[in-house]
């Protein structure tokens, strides 16, 4: 089934050149076998992220999203296929590229290492041997950017889930990374914090940074992603495209146990009831405008 989906999706997808100067990430038919024998084959389509792009990786539990991100971070070494970050294999040359990569993992509790927020955010610059005044300057700037200066002296253990995620993000952003890798970044965040995180991701991309993230939060994908990849069970990459392109294939998404965003579903049902209904819009503002225009047109 995944093969047929892949062919179907490919016909709708953007084609990628073999490699281009602005290419930051490439994952091509990577296979990995875990100790318990579970095999993940990230095949079907190449995953490519370019400079300034915000890429979302979608898929059901166990589809290999985290496996893919761990390959990008050099934590897993592929048995087959190509993994390239800034043109090198991160598993073999991680030290060459790590200063250019910021990471927020799914379990932020385990990512926070130091006894105070300030020390934790300062962890990477200190490890890289940056002079202390410069470390302080960078830490202050990133804490201010995330609006968490007031937490600097706090013990991370006592922070709320959302605050811990912001601290982890500050630790990832402190080195001004060119690539930000986020594993389920919206998990446990309230709507306000989610909005702030989306704004930060967009700001990072506007400044030329690349963001690649896995998420289950389908409804927010159109708000932050320029491009999406959809994984099916076992790691098959079955669909790629802009959010509008990807969510226009509810049948393929259903094969990967992914429910399209509520707005996409609502517009699809509206069209089923009335063929003259507007084309799907995936953000609240665009949907409201489309519905208002449709209403005026009808009136």
């Amino acid at each position: 089934m995944s093969d047929s989906i892949g062919v179907h999706a490919h016909s709708h997808s953007h084609s990628h050149p073999a490699s281009s100067p602005d290419e930051v990430v490439r994952v091509s038919c990577v296979k990995h076998r875990y100790e318990d024998g579970t095999e993940v084959a990230l095949c079907g389509l190449d995953v490519v992220a370019r400079k300034g792009q915000r890429v979302a990786v979608l898929g059901p539990n166990g589809s290999g999203k985290t496996t893919m991100l761990f390959h990008l971070l050099g934590l897993l070494r592929s048995e087959e296929g190509i993994v390239e970050v800034f043109g090198v294999d991160p598993a073999r040359h991680w030290k060459d590229v790590r200063k250019r990569i910021g990471v927020v993992l799914q379990n932020v509790d385990e990512q926070i290492l130091a006894p105070s927020v300030l020390d934790d955010v300062a962890f990477s610059p200190r490890q890289y041997g940056m002079p202390e005044p410069q470390v302080r300057e960078r830490v202050s700037a990133v804490l201010a950017r995330l609006g968490i200066e007031h937490l600097s002296a706090r013990v991370p253990h006592n922070l709320s889930g959302g605050e811990k995620r912001k601290v982890a993000l500050a630790g990832a952003l402190v080195m001004d990374p060119e690539l930000l890798v986020l594993d389920e970044p919206f998990e446990g965040l309230d709507p306000a914090s989610r909005g702030e995180l989306i704004a930060l991701i967009c700001e990072h991309a506007e400044q030329g940074g690349t963001v690649i993230m896995s998420t289950h939060d389908i409804d927010t994908v159109p708000e932050f992603a320029d491009y999406c990849y959809v994984l099916a069970s076992g790691g098959a990459i079955v669909l790629e495209g802009t959010p509008a392109e990807v969510f226009a294939h509810p049948d393929v998404l259903a094969g990967g146990n992914i429910r399209p965003p509520l707005l996409a579903e609502m517009f699809a049902r509206l069209r089923a009831l009335d063929p003259g209904a507007p084309a799907p819009e995936l953000t609240v503002d665009a949907a409201a405008r489309a519905l208002a225009d449709w209403k005026c047109g009808r009136a």
Binding site: L73, L75, W94, K95, R98, K99, I101, V103, L105, N107, D109, E110, Q111, L113, A114, P115, S116, D119, A122, F123, S124, P125, R126, Q127, Y128, G129, E132, V135, H157, G171
Partner: protein, 254 residues
């Protein structure tokens, strides 16, 4: 004030006071040191309840040991009091100093992997305690702890501990991964805490030295000093009263 002193001064004071406690053979002197430490805790508005509770734990083992070896009540009291006072000094150090700053000097003289392991063990301990607490809650909610059947409850707790042990092995791998991702390269970098005031640093070291020297002197010249053994606890009591009065005067909860 203790928070603002450099870790080096605090470690020196800690070592000196600890030497005094270990060297002392007079229960009133050790009691005086313990009361002085309590006065410091009160004056600095530190969370005295958990600190005293933590310091009391070694007292339990001290009590068992003294039951086995002590020949009279006085020597038994001395063993227990020494255990509690030594623990109180350590707790005071840990509550007023970020742990990397405590372990950093140790890390400098040990092989990298051992020094780093000491630093990270401390952090992992918090995560493991939290995990164990969550596991126990889950066990309780699923009726795994039955008051009427302590043997079954004990077996369940042991199995839970086994689960936490497996989690800890996994956690150590993940922590190493995270450190590697965040720039770890075989040696954790701990930036020394700068001195806020040389006077505070000196003051802390001098107080520590005074306590240590007093206790050691008492041990050496005890025949002449013992008639005045009531002085250390009296001075400590005065300090405690002053600390309490200061807090009441400042209208802060004790």
């Amino acid at each position: 004030m203790l928070h603002r002193a450099v870790p080096g001064a605090k470690l020196l004071a800690f070592a000196l006071v600890l030497t005094g406690v270990v060297a002392s053979a007079n229960v009133l002197v050790v009691g005086g040191i313990a009361l002085t430490l309590v006065a410091v805790i009160v004056a600095l508005r530190l969370p005295w309840r958990p600190m005293l509770l933590l310091a009391l734990y070694p007292g339990i083992f001290g009590a068992i040991y003294s039951f086995a070896v002590a020949t009279d009540l006085l020597s038994a009291s001395l063993i227990i009091l020494k255990a509690i006072t030594a623990a109180l000094v350590a707790v005071l150090l840990m509550f007023t100093t970020p742990y990397p700053q405590v372990f950093a000097p140790i890390q400098r003289v040990l092989p990298a992997v051992i020094g780093d392991a000491l630093l990270m063990t401390y952090r992992s301990l918090f995560l493991l305690l939290e995990k164990f607490s969550h596991t126990l809650t889950a066990v309780r909610l699923r009726a795994g702890l039955i008051g009427a059947n302590p043997i079954r409850s004990a077996a369940t707790i042991t199995r839970s501990l086994g689960g936490v042990l497996l989690y800890s092995i996994d956690l150590s791998q993940r922590t190493h991964d995270v450190m590697y991702l965040r720039g770890y390269d075989g040696r954790l970098v701990v930036t020394p805490q700068p001195s806020v005031s040389a006077w505070i640093d000196r003051g802390v070291a001098i107080v520590g030295a005074a306590i240590g020297v007093m206790a050691v002197a008492w041990r050496i010249w005890w025949p002449g000093l013992n008639p005045y053994a009531w002085i250390p606890p009296l001075v400590a009591m005065v300090l405690l009263v002053v600390a309490l009065a200061w807090r009441v005067f400042r209208k802060e909860p004790v």
